[in-house]
């Protein structure tokens, strides 16, 4: 125990919290996407592939146009396009939603790999990264200032989007319709809701959120695209969604927990904790399994999620 206290003194908690928020950014965005999609009744395990593709598209456009904002826009649009593919396959052609999601994940590795090789041969250098923007006044608040108000655009957007998605889902007619489609599409249809339309819009919106998450990797963090740079974050985000019981605020909290485990693991290595680095690296994945297994409370999916809906 004294060792632990000594160790705590060596960890800069503000920098740990700040690193956690940054690392949570793509998890939160993808988890919000998952919430939108699943609440309308469509499982979206394609978020991993959506983020990878968007990371690439965002990087490529930012490089070609010498414009990071345009790159961010491209990431969002490409995320929407890939999600639209998932929507068409699973809503229109009734492909098993998990199979369709896996297809997109495989496709993402393939497509980004093929194009990355082409770009690489042309000797592409990075387009730079999004600048850190200190919010005037607010950033000088002690503790909270450096954690929340000294970030880059994707992280700020993430914080705003948590609130927006929460409001849309629980305080608008659209949100009510979305939840109805996820719980009992037949009842929703009977009440005059266009189930297909609601599902299409929500899946494509989840692609926009995942696309922004992709921009985090290539445009905000390192200014470069690397094969498989999303490293399973899309799947961890789904676990955060489950842990957060399919709510935006819950998903936000769960993402912070996962990202915190990640950031803590990285810091423990610096401090020479005698645990093999591979075990620290496993932390978020093991935590995910524990969460999905319900060790921290039951998580019940929307009743109709995963089932295609057809008018009969």
């Amino acid at each position: 125990m004294p060792g632990f206290v000594l160790w705590l003194q060596n960890v800069d908690l503000v920098s740990l919290a700040s690193a956690t928020l940054v690392a949570a950014t793509p998890l939160v965005l993808a988890a919000l996407g998952g919430v939108m999609s699943e609440r309308s009744g469509v499982v979206n395990i394609a978020l991993e592939g959506i983020m990878l593709t968007s990371a690439f598209a965002g990087f490529a456009i930012a490089f070609v146009a010498h414009n990071l904002a345009l790159g961010m826009l491209a990431a969002i649009v490409s995320g929407m396009l890939i999600a639209a593919l998932h929507a068409v396959l699973s809503i229109e052609f009734l492909v098993d939603q998990i199979v369709s999601g896996m297809v997109i994940n495989i496709l993402a590795v393939g497509v980004t790999g093929v194009f990355y090789r082409t770009l690489l041969q042309q000797g592409v250098r990075g387009p730079g990264t999004l600048p850190i923007w200190r919010v005037p006044v607010l950033s000088s608040i002690p503790v909270i200032g450096p954690i929340v108000f000294q970030n880059a655009l994707v992280t700020y957007s993430m914080l705003v989007l948590v609130v927006i998605v929460h409001l849309v889902l629980f305080n608008t007619v659209w949100g009510l319709r979305t939840r109805a489609c996820g719980e009992h599409p037949l009842a929703a249809e009977t009440a005059g809701v266009n189930v297909k339309l609601v599902r299409y819009v929500n899946v494509i919106a989840s692609g926009a959120l995942g696309g922004l998450g992709g921009a985090y990797f290539s445009i905000q963090q390192i200014g470069q695209f690397l094969p498989n740079m999303t490293g399973g974050r899309g799947f961890i985000a789904l676990a955060a969604m489950i842990f957060g019981k399919w709510t935006p605020l819950g998903a936000f909290g769960a993402s912070l927990l996962f990202a915190g485990a990640d950031a803590l693991g990285a810091r423990l290595q610096y401090l020479g904790v005698r645990v093999p680095i591979q075990f620290l690296g496993m932390l978020p994945y093991v935590l995910t399994i524990v969460v999905v297994a319900g060790a921290m409370g039951r998580a019940i999916a929307p009743a109709a999620v995963g089932r295609p809906y057809r008018k009969s």
Partner: protein, 370 residues
């Protein structure tokens, strides 16, 4: 030919063939977009896969793990479970087999090799049974848990061979000591790398078919896959069947890992068979989860895999093209409605292809393992 027979033939042969052709076409589009010539790319791919004796044995070599992994995914599908954890189970199989392969000395080959293979199956079985138990007892969705266990297995393997307990102390690169000759799978075509694992793969197909179609366990697996509520109502322990089928699925993936270590690489490295298990999803879907259809399906993807390196060398088109083709093939196989729409076929089949059910959170059943 009667209408029913013709329709069965269409479903079983024409749709998979059409899917493969459409998949190759989708790959060609990607090649064009990437600024290369698809005809050059595909002819290089074909040359690299078939035209020389060496190319052909390499294709067969690449086919071997796809057979085991394809069977692994297929048997999961038959029970309505989507095992995406083949990669992790394969790694555990590789670890167990390698441990027996270099650590246990003084055994004759006739004992040593089968022992190492069995150890590999055990490793895969255990790693596969974990998500099975989590699903059966706690309702944790196997798609999420198996994906996470893939990362955990990769971390474990890296720990073991990267200056860890299984690392070769005389080498700087992360790998185990070499397998003993008594544990190695013998080469069956002199002058090539093609090994005895080919016969094991050919044997595994009828064994899995028999298991699924002709045994009590197989009957339970199919019953659970068709309708687990009905299966439970008729007295089948759904939980136990799920654990069993995930274990068997894992054992097949573990066998693939063991065969790769004992037959191909001869050492265990962190990059063992990377990505093969994901390819196997396409193998199983294209085969419609039919064990015998796994063979041609695995051969197709084996040929793509072995031809891809030559294609990359010749035309600078990335080997990742194969993933594009694979993904497209899965789409068309899983969406018969789409293929029929493209070819303007009438008589659309009624039921969608459904493999998994429900959301990614916790799903019933929550009965105890009996």
């Amino acid at each position: 030919m009667s209408t029913a027979a013709r329709r069965a033939l269409t479903g079983r042969l024409l749709l998979p063939l059409a899917s493969v052709l459409l998949g190759l076409a989708a790959g060609a589009v990607a090649v064009v977009l990437a600024g290369a010539n698809p005809i050059d790319a595909y002819s290089a791919l074909f040359q690299g896969a078939f035209t020389t004796r060496n190319a052909f044995t390499e294709t067969l070599l690449a086919t071997i793990p796809y057979v085991f992994l394809g069977l692994s995914v297929a048997i999961g599908f038959r029970a309505g479970l989507f095992n995406i954890g083949g990669q992790g189970q394969l790694l555990l199989g590789g670890i167990f087999a390698a441990f027996i392969g270099y650590r246990v000395t003084g055994l004759p080959a006739i004992v040593h090799t089968p022992l190492a293979l069995l150890a590999g199956m055990l490793g895969g079985f255990l790693w596969g049974a974990i998500p099975g138990i989590l699903k059966a007892r706690l309702g944790a969705h196997e798609v999420i848990t198996t994906i996470m266990l893939n990362y955990v297995a990769a971390g474990l393997l890296d720990f073991l061979v990267n200056r860890g307990p299984m690392a070769d102390p005389h080498r700087a690169i992360p790998q185990t000591p070499a397998m003993l000759p008594s544990a190695a799978l013998p080469i069956i075509v002199p002058g090539s790398r093609l090994h005895f694992g080919l016969f094991l793969a050919l044997l595994a197909v009828p064994v899995v078919w028999f298991l699924v179609e002709r045994t009590t366990i197989g009957f339970r697996i199919r019953a659970v896959g068709l309708n687990w509520t009905a299966a439970r109502a008729s007295g089948i322990s759904v939980a136990w069947t799920m654990v069993t089928v995930m274990g068997i699925s894992g054992a097949l993936a573990g066998l693939a890992g063991a065969v790769e270590v004992l037959g191909v690489s001869g050492v265990l490295t962190p990059s063992l068979a990377s990505g093969l298990a994901f390819d196997a999803i396409a193998v199983a879907l294209l085969a419609g989860s039919n064990p015998f259809a796994i063979l041609p399906s695995a051969l197709l993807f084996g040929a793509l895999k072995s031809g891809a390196s030559f294609m990359q060398l010749q035309t600078q088109v990335s080997t990742d093209l194969i993933s594009v083709v694979q993904a497209a093939v899965i789409v068309f196989v899983a969406a018969p409605l789409l293929v029929r729409w493209i070819f303007r076929l009438r008589a659309a089949p009624a039921a969608p292809v459904s493999i998994t059910e429900g959301g990614l959170g916790q799903t019933p059943p929550r009965e105890g393992v009996a």
